[in-house]
Subunit: 476 residues, 2 copies
């Protein structure tokens, strides 16, 4: 691997976009691939993604979902079965036309999402009310041709999970839609330490084929929003297109009601952007691939070797740890591991060994403390907890400081220039007004927040009555 010189890192505060790309390359989270828009996830980035997957998968299983694996390819005729859906995805589809030297009689689409695959099988598998709800999820990659791409945030191929469920009633399906939105909110806030606004998408922003789309929206440090997870209620749309019916307890044949919900490695991009600082990454402890790095201050000293060896055993049982025995200087190592975002550093030198202590350094504020070796596990746990909370609180304060109100299009436009971020504004519900805002300011309705209080007002464009404010922002 090429050596990484931390000093070369662009300051985050100076140029977020450059910092973002640089820190990903330098920390070896990902690299470019020689097909436009594709990325390679390197081991450090993959370890992070594996931990995120595992924490999310546990939540899916706890809410009764099971994993399955559906194929990568579908016949063109299948993709086109639900009209709105295909219209939404057709321009981005990668098409397979040949195998070996043979031309296919019907070309095959690489999945841009898998509603049509799941629904085809649900039509076969579901027959009675006893078969419901059917609660499946899959972890996979999907492909969508994208013009402008960025590591993790927008890639032509992305890893994600997609849940697809079928229910007896619209109420059950709606409940599922909201349950999974809450699972996402809890995951992103509790594990990634990123505050989000849960809400409903407007008609123009909802998923192709959905009746209702819900989202959690995070705010990046440059004031742009990032959609971090979505949950869709389809009603009977797909059930009718795919003829998915069941015999209910009353003997009637009825259509099922379906949902889907997805969260991708965009959230990796979100946590990099939200938490990092000028020195590099800061990983939220619950998903940090390495939670603690031990840096021996004199790696050639026998007492240090022995003490660190003992610590590795003790701490390794409770935390994800690494000990850096490389022949670089301690200062180089401090920079390197800070850049890589490891939450806690433990320094052990000959004097520390003699005094039965170690130096503990917290990544975000570089707070140092000298801790007796016996107290180290508890001190590390407390530091990880405090760091998690501090990351969340800082991100929330940043977001709140970037959340404004505007009561006219001119005010919205001015606010987005002065202090880019979330802007809460009244909107009458008319798509034309929404389009006008987008055309003039580049901002879209990120969501109609679930917790937004009722407040009579006037639409920022046409002045028509509005019952609550919605959330505008420019977005990734």
């Amino acid at each position: 691997m090429q050596p990484t010189y931390v000093t070369e890192l662009t300051r985050k505060s100076h140029d977020l976009s450059r910092w973002y790309t640089e820190v990903i390359l330098k920390a070896q989270l990902a690299d470019y691939w020689n097909v436009h828009g594709f990325q390679i996830v390197r081991p450090y980035g993959h370890a992070l993604w594996e931990l995120m997957q595992s924490r999310l998968d546990g939540r899916f299983k706890a809410t009764g979902h099971k994993n399955a694996q559906f194929p990568l390819l579908m016949p063109e005729s299948l993709l086109t079965k639900e009209a709105e859906h295909v219209e939404g995805f057709a321009p981005e589809v990668f098409w397979v036309t040949h195998t070996g030297k043979e031309e296919l009689t019907e070309r095959l689409a690489i999945r841009p999402t898998s509603e049509t695959l799941f629904m085809t099988m649900y039509a076969k598998w579901i027959d009675s009310w006893r078969d419901l709800p059917m609660l499946l999820n899959q972890w996979c990659s999907v492909l969508r041709a994208e013009k402008t791409t960025r590591f993790f945030l927008r890639t032509a191929e992305f890893q994600w999970q997609e849940g697809h469920t079928a229910h007896r009633s619209a109420e059950d399906a709606r409940e599922e839609t909201m349950r999974m939105l809450e699972v996402y909110r809890d995951f992103v806030e509790s594990d990634l330490a990123i505050p989000v606004v849960p809400g409903r998408k407007s008609e123009s922003e909802k998923f192709a084929g959905a009746l209702e789309t819900y989202t959690i929206e995070a705010l990046m440090p440059d004031g742009q929003a990032l959609q971090s997870g979505t949950s869709h209620f389809f009603g009977e749309n797909f059930a009718r297109a795919f003829e998915i019916t069941f015999q209910d307890q009353d003997g009637q044949r009825k259509h099922v009601h379906t949902t889907s919900w997805g969260l991708s490695w965009r959230t990796v991009g979100a946590l990099i952007m939200v938490h990092g600082d000028d020195a590099g990454l800061i990983f939220p402890p619950r998903v940090a691939p390495t939670q603690v790095v031990i840096v021996p201050i004199r790696p050639d000293d026998a007492t240090v070797v022995e003490a660190v060896g003992k610590l590795q055993g003790e701490l390794g049982a409770r935390f994800r740890i690494e000990a850096d025995w490389s022949d670089k200087s301690p200062g180089w190592k401090f920079n390197e591991w800070e850049m890589r975002g490891v939450p806690v550093r433990v320094e052990v030198g000959p004097r520390d060994v003699k005094n039965g202590q170690a130096v503990l350094v917290r990544r975000d504020n570089r707070e140092k403390s000298v801790v007796p070796l016996a107290d180290l596990p508890a001190a590390i746990q407390a530091t990880l907890d405090a760091l998690h909370l501090a990351l969340f609180e800082r991100a929330k304060a940043d977001r709140d400081a970037r959340t404004s109100r505007a009561d006219s299009l001119a005010a919205l436009s001015a606010t987005l220039k002065e202090r880019p971020g979330f802007v809460r504004a009244h909107w009458c519900g008319d798509a034309a007004c929404e389009a006008r805002v987008k055309a003039e300011t580049g901002a879209t309705i990120r969501c109609i927040p679930l917790d937004e209080p009722e407040e009579p007002g006037a639409c920022l464009v046409d002045g028509k009555p509005s019952q609550k404010r919605v959330l505008f922002a420019r977005a990734y």
Copy 2:
């Protein structure tokens, strides 16, 4: 889901091939997809595969490997960089030619395997001897167009893992090749309870682009071999094609030596075939998605409900368990769970509760024992261990009974007719003799077993001298 009538299951002993397909469909391990050769893995099958992945992944990490994620697509020019490699795969490649309505300037191959992707990046990432060894693995699916396909055993898209490593010396790379072969042998024998023969492939059977290919070969009940995992030594072949060099400690610029190794969900097919019986699946306990099913004999009896509830708590902490509260009869449930291959069944009726006991039934031999509730966890563990061992021993005895020797082509041919299986025979090393055997009997050299003793002999085709016997068989 459609009801599954166990009684309809074809007998394994009567028609292995039909039994295999039926049991997979009935136990809902997998289903057909509407593109030729693709399958859907349903939750029960996926739970099995997840457990297998987790046990194998643990072994990879313990031997110093890290996971990464490489893209699905590569430019055509990249696939063709290593001449033998592309020749081996080109006829099976799925080609992407368009995105949306745009034709691509260079068409893209869906990965049939990822050597060329890893090697492209290794050329960029490897610079010094300090960067070596580079030990990466990825879990993914790969696509190869196949004419004749079967659930798990041969599918156009298959899930697998592929390890790709780069080393300083040929010796290091050879060691890695053999280390991973041993990891596979240990996994398949210790976790899947399938005995295998580790050995080297002949020149004609080795992987496209490899200098040496090693394999573990299992024997199916119909006497056909199944290649269950392979490990390849590439020497400098890929390093030269992709210009992967490093500066060694002596200051010289040298080519790395590379390996790759893969194991796929074919092994799911192997364990189904090897262990199942006329009543259905028998899952080896270490990877069985459900290790213990509790069947309440009178689910409406309050004492039974209470006792089973308590058992669920106690047993759930140690084993992967299910309790079947459905409204079917106990007999129906017994059949159903036997068909689904659950290793241990626990029956609890009102009389059992009164006597503080439960009935424990072992899947393979249906041995019943009455066990005091307090002893149940230990009794279950002992039964799982005994079942694992019995499965392995039975499979080994079956295989040994189907392993013969032959000293002429006529004898080989006759043996394969009378008692299909492994045939150990002398072979001079000449590809023409190997081809002749294949043309006349359909058998190929599965491997040159590592543990085959030296034994001077004469090639079964041309009578030329041979130093040891090799393993012939027809294969899946």
